[in-house]
């Protein structure tokens, strides 16, 4: 089976810092993968490269066999770290927007999730609390039948109860043939849902393994291993 993400010697530099230095990675379909690393380790840069928001300096990056572009944007559902929806629209307009641009968007599922959280579809994005806005963003992103879900810090800014909702929404809604890549530094919270983990530090992949292997071979939780690897 073709890997969903395949990158070879991927390098990205910003003025004054090397964000990714020669990353090699393959992510197959049907997995929930944690992209784990401390702040500034290159997680967001990697996700932005996959989305075509940044262009690599060198190396190769293929999503479902294509270089990032219109074709790959059709199959990727991306949740950026920050709130990114149009403030002046209400939820219903935002759903129509997604429906218009993404043929794989499932409107009924979006409204269903909104109803379960008692979010009013007529409410404007601008008037929502930060937590509600993040939930709406996640609902929109997870209502697509995408091949690849790239979620940048989906649980970063919310309380523990909302974290559970978010993780349940992710595992309850992703396309089982596709893969989910979750970037975060809150390991303990996501560990339970992950199949594989990738540790990244200073732009380099430190470790790439399945959670089962880590538990069996090292007899440690991912959280414990993370604390060991990234000890300050």
């Amino acid at each position: 089976m073709q890997n969903l993400i395949e990158c070879r010697d991927l390098v990205k530099t910003f003025p004054g810092c090397q964000a990714l230095c020669g990353v090699n990675l393959q992510i197959p379909g049907g997995r929930i993968v944690g992209l784990l690393g401390p702040n500034g380790s290159g997680k967001s840069t990697f996700l932005k490269l996959c989305n075509g928001l940044l262009v690599p300096d060198s190396g190769e990056l293929l999503i479902c066999g294509h270089a990032p572009g219109v074709e790959t944007k059709k199959v990727i559902s991306y949740l950026p770290e920050r709130s990114y929806l149009n403030d002046w629209m209400n939820v219903r307009q935002m759903i129509r927007f997604f429906e218009d641009f993404y043929p794989d968007f499932e409107t009924a599922r979006a409204y269903d999730m909104l109803a379960r959280l008692s979010i009013n579809p007529s409410q404007r994005m601008k008037t929502m609390s930060k937590g509600t806005r993040e939930k709406v963003q996640l609902i929109l992103v997870m209502s697509r039948r995408a091949q690849l879900y790239l979620l940048d810090e989906p649980i970063g800014g919310v309380d523990p109860a909302a974290r559970d909702f978010i993780l349940n929404t992710i595992i309850g809604n992703y396309n089982p043939e596709g893969s989910v890549l979750i970037s975060t530094h809150l390991i303990a919270d996501v560990e339970q849902v992950l199949d594989d983990v990738i540790f990244i530090n200073n732009g380099r992949i430190v470790l790439c393994d399945s959670v089962d292997n880590i538990r069996a071979q090292q007899d440690k939780s991912v959280d414990m291993l993370f604390r060991e690897v990234f000890r300050c």
């Binding site: 075509g52 928001l53 219109v70 990727i76 950026p80 990114y84 002046w88 993404y102």
Partner: protein, 279 residues
């Protein structure tokens, strides 16, 4: 996909423009009404009921005219800066569309609104001043214009087309110059707006310099001076020379707009593809 992008672009901007156009026309209508009321029998009442409201309304109408210009400019800047290069850029640049389509959706919408704003101002002026006489004069003007156009074809048509093309590409060039300044300003981590304004001033100065060189070199051509003398009536008119020089001049303007606008277009396009630096 460009169609869909344009649909949302117009949705996002119409909510500012349409109420503003309506307000301007209503203000023009009210100003005209107060101007047409006469209350000569009672000077005190006339002062309170006619003169003061009329003064305030015409002041508001003037402010409306000014704000249409300002809002058009601000929205050209804001839709590009906020929707593409601000945090909304994460949404727009991950849609299954090309950066070029995004650029054209902004450009075309800006062009349409600039034209619509001009039209709204013209309509409001009509509401304010037009009467039978004005329409009669305009009718006369247009009919003699079209007569001249028909009589002096094909030269007159060539000049018309060149003029319209220069107008459209001039507008595109003006919008692209703003985009260029924004895109370059956004390459900085801090003080993006300040840098953008600096770039804009720099670009305008460079253009002025180029333009003055072009005008001086044109003025040095003997034919050109001759044509100016003809045009201002110092000599007996020779239509062929006038047309030849007009065509040359307009072609020069068009080439200037195309070259400078083209350079901006390719730089902005390249930056959006390769050097997108979202907040």
């Amino acid at each position: 996909m460009l169609k869909k992008l344009l649909k949302y672009e117009f949705q996002a901007t119409a909510r500012f423009f349409l109420p503003l156009y309506l307000l301007l026309i209503v203000l023009a209508l009210l100003t005209r009404l107060t101007m047409s009321v006469t209350f000569e029998s009672n000077p005190v009442l006339k002062n309170y009921l006619v003169d003061i409201p009329s003064f305030l309304l015409s002041f508001a109408y003037g402010a409306g005219l000014l704000s249409i210009g300002l809002v058009t400019l601000l929205l050209v800047v804001q839709r590009f800066y906020k929707n593409l290069l601000g945090r909304e850029g994460y949404l727009m640049f991950t849609l299954p569309v090309t950066p070029v389509q995004l650029l054209w959706s902004k450009l075309l919408a800006a062009l349409v609104w600039a034209a619509a704003s001009t039209l709204a101002v013209i309509v409001s002026l009509f509401v304010l001043f037009a009467d039978g006489n004005v329409f009669y004069l305009l009718g006369e003007m247009f009919s003699s214009f079209f007569e001249a156009l028909a009589k002096e074809a094909p030269h007159s048509w060539i000049v018309m087309i060149l003029f319209l093309a220069a107008l459209i590409f001039g507008a595109l060039h003006a919008v692209l110059e703003v985009y260029m300044a924004i895109v370059l300003g956004c390459q900085a981590r801090k003080n993006r707006i300040l840098l953008g304004i600096g770039v804009y001033i720099g670009l305008s100065m460079a253009e002025q310099f180029l333009m003055s060189i072009a005008i001086v070199s044109m003025a040095l051509m003997p034919d050109f001076t001759m044509a100016l003398l003809y045009l201002f009536g110092f000599r007996q008119a020779d239509p062929d020379t006038i047309y030849a020089v007009l065509e040359l001049f307009l072609t020069g303007v068009l080439v200037f707009e195309l070259v400078i606008g083209g350079v901006y277009y390719f730089v902005v396009r390249r930056m959006l593809i390769h050097r997108l630096n979202l907040e």
